[in-house]
Symmetry: C2
DNA sequence: TCTGGCACTCACCGGGCACGAGTGCCAGAA
DNA sequence: TTCTGGCACTCGTGCCCGGTGAGTGCCAGA
């Protein structure tokens, strides 16, 4: 087991490296931190830490930098979550309070998170499957054409065109609308399929074609939209470290463009509590030099979606985690209010 | 005025430079193009072109590269628009045909354009002000709470919450819905304000409060949403030239993150026909090293929005213009069908 | 007006060299 | 046993320097 002081040395190395972006040597370390021992002692500790795989040397006559394993230990044992200052908290609230609709909430959240952490921010739209139905609307556009509009409790709206096999009257449409809503309003999306299962049977023969096609479109929408949407921002922050890995930036940008990858990334995060994935812990190759800090957010106790940031493994973990957690909380509040 | 051959030399320089990304000298030029004259002659022509400001030398003993002015002349006089191959056209159509809703159309368009041009693609959502109303829906959510849903002929849906001063009955809401729709369906958004101007007067005193707040919310939505939405993609393509301007990439990413800047950029493009803005012709400083190729698209003759690409001034103009034009046409068709 | 020749410029490349940060090891002190 | 100071060693970085070659401008002659 590592002694108390060796852990302290690791913490100091991580902190210095995050700050300076340069390998840190034994002498500099004793000068900047009150370790109470000489550089020679620190060197011995460093050798031990290197044996254990927590730090590494880029080349022989250079200082040490933390490895992924080193950051992992730092995050798990050595670092807390740094709470935001109260001016920062006020700023978050003010900024988010101005949002007019869901798109706006998500957009503002992304910008906010990118600005606070100075990294790339990713925010998932509230998931349909975990949301509840606020309203289903059926609009007659033409005799045999209906628009299906789905509204969630989180304010999200989805619409689909439905071509009916036979012309539908305003009356039977109103009937369907009423019966449909009475069954599904307030229920979770995941439960909708079985709630409407027997609905066609209760209609006249002539309307059943229309009813079942409307229902199947509704169910399709649920399935299709389960592949969630998300928004990203702050990609310009990637250029902050372009000087030491100009070639690392490309795979990251590519990964960020693939929603599938990002959704998987957020999906891997735990539902509650914060998840930190460091370097090679990320399955996607392009993100092997980055860390992801993600957390679920929601209007109530339960997470309806996730948000987080993507940055270099060499990031300020306590600060980033603090910002991510704070933003998630405030977004949850905003959603609960609307 | 420049002689025919000098223009030919300029064209050759632009083509070679776009291909190789390296300053092009007189000797290489005569070897790769059948100009029918010696390097010495070309040198004289180059000197003349440099005097006129069409090309420049990065440093004394190097070849020439085109200036913004040189590219401008190339685009205006020397380059055509390169039509796509028919496999490419088929691929576009197949890819766009699979779209299920407006978001999907725009998303696919962005990816397509980024892939075809290997540059950053920007697609504006169909504008509200130039669209027509397909339907306005009013949904009672609570006794004094109504959701306003606005549907455009291009498939776009906007919704707003309305808090009414007094509880509204289902009947009076239906009445308002019917009268509202009879006035505005099929009309252009820009005309809506004056079409509904006198509507409150025709209602009973007790409902006027509700009517006017619904209308004002509707009008607000029109104004707010005039600041359009857009989608971008292909930012990973920026890294293709990271080797010669690693520091240029940052301002570009920053500019791309500001929707306002992009909207202005597209807004400056002509409504019809293609617009090419080269280097310093772009007002925004961050984009001084990039060119923007933009064009309007729409379901009919008229443009409802714009799309385009952002790339280095050293881009394949004929090919890019061809791709942008083709994609715009197909998107227009898709929108017209839905 | 074009061409070949010629002198000149200057970015780029590779080698050699000094510098210095950082290391590992060891003997002696606490 | 643990820490400390000293010392030799490594090696990346920055700098200078000369050679090379692509490219130029100019000029005299066709």
């Amino acid at each position: 087991m590592l002694s108390e002081r060796r852990l302290e040395v690791l913490r100091a190395i991580v902190q210095d490296y995050v700050g300076t972006e340069e390998p840190v040597g034994s002498k500099a370390l004793t000068e900047r931190h009150r370790l109470g021992v000489s550089p020679a002692t620190v060197r011995n500790d460093m050798a031990a830490l290197e044996d254990e795989g927590f730090i590494a040397q880029p080349h022989t006559s250079a200082g040490r930098i933390p490895t992924d394993k080193g950051y992992r230990l730092f995050v798990d044992k050595l670092a807390g979550v740094k709470p935001l200052s109260s001016p920062e908290r006020r700023a978050i609230q003010n900024f988010l309070d101005g949002a007019v609709d869901l798109d706006d909430v998500v957009g503002r959240t992304v910008r906010l998170l990118a600005q606070l952490t100075r990294q790339v921010a990713v925010v998932q739209y509230p998931s349909l499957t975990r949301s509840t139905v606020r309203h289903v609307e059926l609009l007659p556009l033409a005799p045999a054409r209906v628009m299906l509009v789905l509204i969630t409790d989180t304010g999200r709206v989805e619409q689909r065109m439905v071509d009916c096999p036979t012309p539908v009257t305003e009356d039977s449409l109103a009937d369907l609308r009423a019966r449909l809503n009475s069954r599904v309003v307030g229920r979770r999306f995941a439960d909708v399929p079985q709630l409407v299962q027997d609905l066609p049977e209760s209609f006249e023969q002539e309307d059943r074609g229309t009813v079942s096609i409307v229902l199947s479109t509704l169910l399709e929408t649920l399935v299709e939209e389960t592949e969630e949407r998300l928004m990203i921002g702050g990609t310009a922050n990637l250029t902050r470290f372009v000087h030491d890995f100009p070639l690392t930036i490309r795979p990251v940008l590519e990964a960020l463009e693939e929603q599938v990858v990002l959704l998987k990334l957020l999906g891997e995060a735990k539902d509650s509590g914060m998840t930190v994935r460091i370097g090679h812990e990320n399955a996607h190759e392009g993100l092997n030099a980055t860390s992801v800090v993600a957390v679920g957010y929601g209007s109530g106790d339960e997470a309806v979606a996730k948000l987080g940031v993507v940055g270099p493994t060499r990031m300020d973990y306590p600060g980033t985690m603090g910002a991510v957690r704070a933003v998630a909380r405030y977004v949850g509040q905003i959603l609960a209010e609307s």
